[in-house]
């Protein structure tokens, strides 16, 4: 390992802005994307469940 201290690690030999800017952007987008994909799935699932409940309610009212 070439780091003598935590500070040295974060300084990246003077390239901190560039190295952390790159890895940070990757981390940010690659955390956000699965989160958005998951939300899209749960949104469509929720609306499907609402739709089915509405259907069930309608048939109940019709039989009454």
């Amino acid at each position: 390992m070439q780091w003598n201290s935590v500070g040295e690690f974060f300084a990246m030999g003077g390239y901190a802005l560039y190295v952390w800017g790159s890895f940070g952007a990757c981390a940010l987008l690659m955390i956000a994307e699965p989160f958005l994909a998951k939300r899209r799935l749960s949104e469509v699932r929720r609306s499907l469940i609402r739709e089915r409940l509405a259907d069930e309610l309608e048939t109940q009212q019709r039989t009454q």
């Binding site: 070439q2 780091w3 990246m12 003077g14 390239y15 190295v19 790159s22 952007a25 990757c26 699932r45």
Partner: protein, 246 residues
């Protein structure tokens, strides 16, 4: 028809692909995490300082995987789109649609990390060089594919239009890949060559390959997550979808 062939076609239906995708997703996440953690460990703690670029070269561990994936996802997307166009299979068109945002994300990361690497090494965030410009065009191809699909109301027609755009755009991939050979560019030549020993330290190479595998597994996992949402959205009026959600 042979039994194995029938099995294959079974998974081409949204109804059986939806639960299959759901079962595969956790495995791809686990693989992405394992490759990602070991890749990051090598990137920061094992790989030595570069003789010319100091610590700044470490951007390679995200820049190269993102660039590879941006090109590879495009090929996979065009393959699925083309298959959907030729065989009229629904899942392949949905798969193409699901891959586009992830491909666009990889192209954006490739350009972003490239700019952050270019500034300290070349002194410029951006140059209108063959490699950089063709990668920017790839980014726009992804955006164009997504915009075109979103602009057409009938999903089957949107699939066809998108597939043609995706297939025509494939011509850009070899242009990106060979740009560093065909033109005099500021961008360095390819790091890994099929017919030459790689021009970098062994540990650096391992770090890069592990990170590339992590990006690969990530892309599959997230594309499968999105395709499940697309399947439900587009098949919402079928009987099986009504029973699939509890």
């Amino acid at each position: 028809m042979r039994q194995s062939l029938i099995q294959w076609f079974k998974f081409a239906s949204p109804q059986s692909f939806y639960p299959l995708a759901g079962r595969m997703i956790p495995w791809f996440w686990a693989a992405a995490a394992i490759f990602g953690i070991s890749g990051l460990w090598i990137s920061f703690f094992v790989a030595p300082t570069d003789a010319q670029q100091g610590e700044g070269y470490r951007i390679i561990f995200v820049h190269v995987p993102a660039s590879w994936m941006s090109m590879f996802i495009y090929l996979v997307m065009a393959f699925w789109a083309g298959l959907g166009l030729a065989l009229n299979t629904r899942v392949s068109a949905m798969m193409a649609q699901s891959l586009a945002p992830t491909g666009a994300l990889m192209a954006a990361l490739s350009l972003w990390t490239g700019a952050l690497w270019g500034k300290p090494m070349w002194g410029a965030w951006w140059v209108w060089d063959a490699r950089l410009t063709s990668e920017l065009i790839l980014f726009f191809l992804y955006l164009g594919f997504m915009a075109l699909q979103a602009a057409i109301d009938d999903p089957r027609r949107a699939d066809k239009a998108g597939a043609i755009l995706a297939l025509v755009g494939v011509v850009n991939i070899p242009i990106i890949y060979f740009s560093v050979k065909w033109w005099n560019t500021l961008h360095q030549g390819s790091t890994i060559n099929l017919n030459k020993a790689p021009s970098m330290a062994q540990t650096m190479l391992w770090g890069m390959l592990l990170m590339a595998l992590a990006f690969w597994m990530y892309s599959i996992a997230v594309a499968l997550m999105r395709v499940r949402a697309i399947i439900l959205e587009r098949e919402r009026h079928t009987e099986w979808v009504k029973h699939a959600v509890e």
